[in-house]
């Protein structure tokens, strides 16, 4: 089975939950920017959550299905159309061979996900199918998707095949949907934890960091978000050596304007870091666009951990709910 790219959308690429275990060699983790949204897309087609999906930013691709395919669209809000018919997001959909899916522009949020039953089956590189653009490896030929690319897909699970035969018999699409309760509009509170150098930033800087807005600028990408706002200054600039950095590390280069490292960050960095974004808020951050305003709120690492664990359980419940809906759907068939 293949997916043929008719229109590439913007920055569309094959991604999964990332390439862990190789940062010590300088190979980045990468993967989807919004893991919860990508996992939901996979669950909706009965894939393992780590299956490869297509991620797009701001505008989605148009895709030609060579065969009957079960798929789901999640993440940033859009109006996906299958052969000119609105199909809705966050639910399993059946495309017949020859159908064309048009995802179009995002109405709210930045990153969207298309999962197909069986997953995108491009070659695995060091344990992952994620596209590493800078290394030119992984994903589809190590690059962004382009018109005429043909992506191989894997074999749908037996359960997904059952869902496909149910959907083939019903006229109306599925009415329920799975989504994360998030809003991408307005000002966003982002929880942060202090990094080692926090006490070494000037008192005014620390105060400004926690009490004024920072705006995401246009020079932001999957590697990092450059922010603009009050200048941040270290009390005294000592010599720093490069060391490991991660998603959500907030670096402050010489110009005093913070940069939040995102999914495609390098494994190490040498700029002073003021704080670290709570893991639970990274997927919200991933959906924000240039122009969005942030306000940072300081929490403890214990609170950060509790928020991450709570997010895990919320997603787990959503997964159970999807499985439950699938069972009901299968019963309908019998």
């Amino acid at each position: 089975m293949t997916l043929k790219i008719i229109q590439k959308g913007f920055a569309s690429a094959v991604q999964d939950i990332g390439r862990t275990g190789y940062q010590r060699y300088g190979i980045i983790v990468g993967g989807v920017m919004d893991p919860p949204a990508a996992k939901i897309a996979n669950w909706l087609v009965d894939n393992h959550e780590s299956a490869a999906v297509i991620e797009y930013s701001f505008a989605g691709p148009s895709i030609f299905f060579t065969e009957d395919t079960l798929f789901a669209v999640t993440g940033a809000e859009c109006i996906p159309m299958l052969n000119g018919r609105e199909i809705g997001m966050g639910r399993p959909c059946l495309a017949r061979g020859g159908h064309i899916l048009t995802i179009g522009r995002m109405l709210s949020g930045s990153r969207g996900y298309l999962a197909v039953a069986g997953g995108v089956a491009t070659p695995v590189w060091y344990g992952s199918r994620s596209t590493d653009l800078r290394a030119g490896c992984g994903g589809y030929e190590g690059r962004l998707l382009a018109e005429h690319d043909c992506l191989p897909t894997g074999i749908p699970s037996p359960y997904a095949q059952g869902i496909m035969s149910v959907l083939a018999q019903v006229e109306s699409p599925i009415s329920w949907y799975a989504a994360l309760r998030r809003s991408y509009r307005g000002m966003h509170w982002i929880r942060v934890m202090p990094d080692t150098l926090w006490p070494h930033f000037s008192e005014e800087s620390r105060k400004a960091f926690l009490s004024t807005n920072y705006q995401i600028t246009a020079s932001s990408d999957r590697m990092g978000y450059r922010l603009s706002g009050e200048h941040l200054l270290l009390e005294e600039a000592g010599e720093l050596y490069s060391e490991a950095v991660t998603n959500g590390s907030i670096q402050v280069p010489g110009n005093g304007q913070p940069i939040i490292l995102m999914t495609d960050h390098q494994s190490i960095g040498g700029y002073p870091r003021i704080a670290q974004v709570a893991s639970a808020d990274l997927s919200l951050l991933a959906q924000l666009s240039p122009g969005a305003k942030l306000r940072f709120r300081m929490i403890t690492t214990q609170e950060g951990e509790a928020a991450a664990i709570q997010q895990y359980h919320t997603l787990k419940r959503l997964h159970q709910e999807i499985k439950c809906r699938f069972r009901l759907l299968a019963q309908k068939n019998n």
């Binding site: 862990t20 275990g21 190789y22 940062q23 010590r24 060699y25 300088g26 190979i27 590189w125 060091y126 800078r134 290394a135 030119g136 490896c137 934890m193 990094d195 080692t196 050596y241 490069s242 060391e243 490991a244 991660t246 959500g248 590390s249 390098q266 494994s267 190490i268 670290q276 974004v277 709570a278 893991s279 690492t301 214990q302 950060g304 951990e305 928020a307 991450a308 664990i309 895990y312």
Partner: protein, 236 residues
């Protein structure tokens, strides 16, 4: 030795505040111990000059550890015990020694003359200084397989180029301040390029993704351009 939280899913173990082989050794002893016996929920570690970060999955740590304590506290306890042992341990580690052939100067090392002029040395002296040291790989990063090397003679320390190049060829050997390194991939860069190696540092199809690992010793062997061309021909 000091252990600090690094966000909510990682901890950083610091062994000192300076670049020194004995600090690298402590880091390596600790990471070897975790390789042998990974703690519950361990994902990966990333060593650097003075410290090493351990990433873990808090849900796994708690599932397989104690329910009533935070995952971070449990990981910090485990690592602080292992790090104490790594510091106190006198056992030496057998370091791998990797020879990297380098053709210095000419079109492959366009900044060799500038580096020599900066230090008022001859180009041969620069080559001699650069090739006679043993370099320790402290970490890899910036790009896949890019080694951060320690041990370059202070006499060769040279500021970066005023204008970075848009393209530096893969295999280029350069100097930036007190650091020396090798570009594994073609990339933009501001390092002073003094030579090039025909050997590939990023080997994505091999068992190990990179030629060098943290803790290796590197020796640069000068080769003439003819030999460079021969080796390049064989390897490509």
């Amino acid at each position: 030795m000091r252990i600090e939280p690094f966000g909510d899913q990682a901890v950083r173990v610091r062994f000192g505040d300076q670049i020194a082989p004995h600090i690298q050794l402590s880091i390596q002893r600790l990471t070897l111990q975790v390789d042998r016996d990974p703690f519950p929920g361990f994902i990966e570690y990333v060593p650097a000059y003075t410290n090493v970060v351990f990433y873990y999955n808090p849900v796994e740590v708690i599932k397989r550890g104690k329910k009533e304590r935070t995952a971070q506290q449990q990981v910090m306890d485990i690592l602080s015990q292992l790090a104490e042992q790594a510091c106190g341990n006198e056992r030496q580690i057998q370091r791998r020694v990797i020879h990297i052939p380098v053709c210095y100067g000419g079109r492959l090392g366009p900044d060799l003359n500038a580096v020599a002029a900066f230090h008022q040395m001859s180009t041969d002296q620069v080559i001699k200084w650069h090739a006679q040291s043993e370099y320790l790989v402290y970490m890899l990063g910036f790009a896949p397989g890019f080694p951060f090397l320690g041990g370059m003679s202070e006499a060769l320390a040279t500021p970066r180029r005023a204008t970075p190049r848009l393209k530096v060829a893969a295999g280029s050997v350069g100097i930036a301040g007190r650091q020396t390194g090798v570009y594994p991939l073609e990339s933009p860069g501001g390092w002073q390029i003094i030579g090039r190696t025909p050997v590939s540092l990023f080997t994505p199809k091999a068992d190990s993704p990179t030629l060098l690992h943290a803790g290796d010793v590197v020796i640069f062997d000068p080769i003439p351009e003819q030999e460079y061309a021969q080796m390049k021909g064989i390897s490509s």
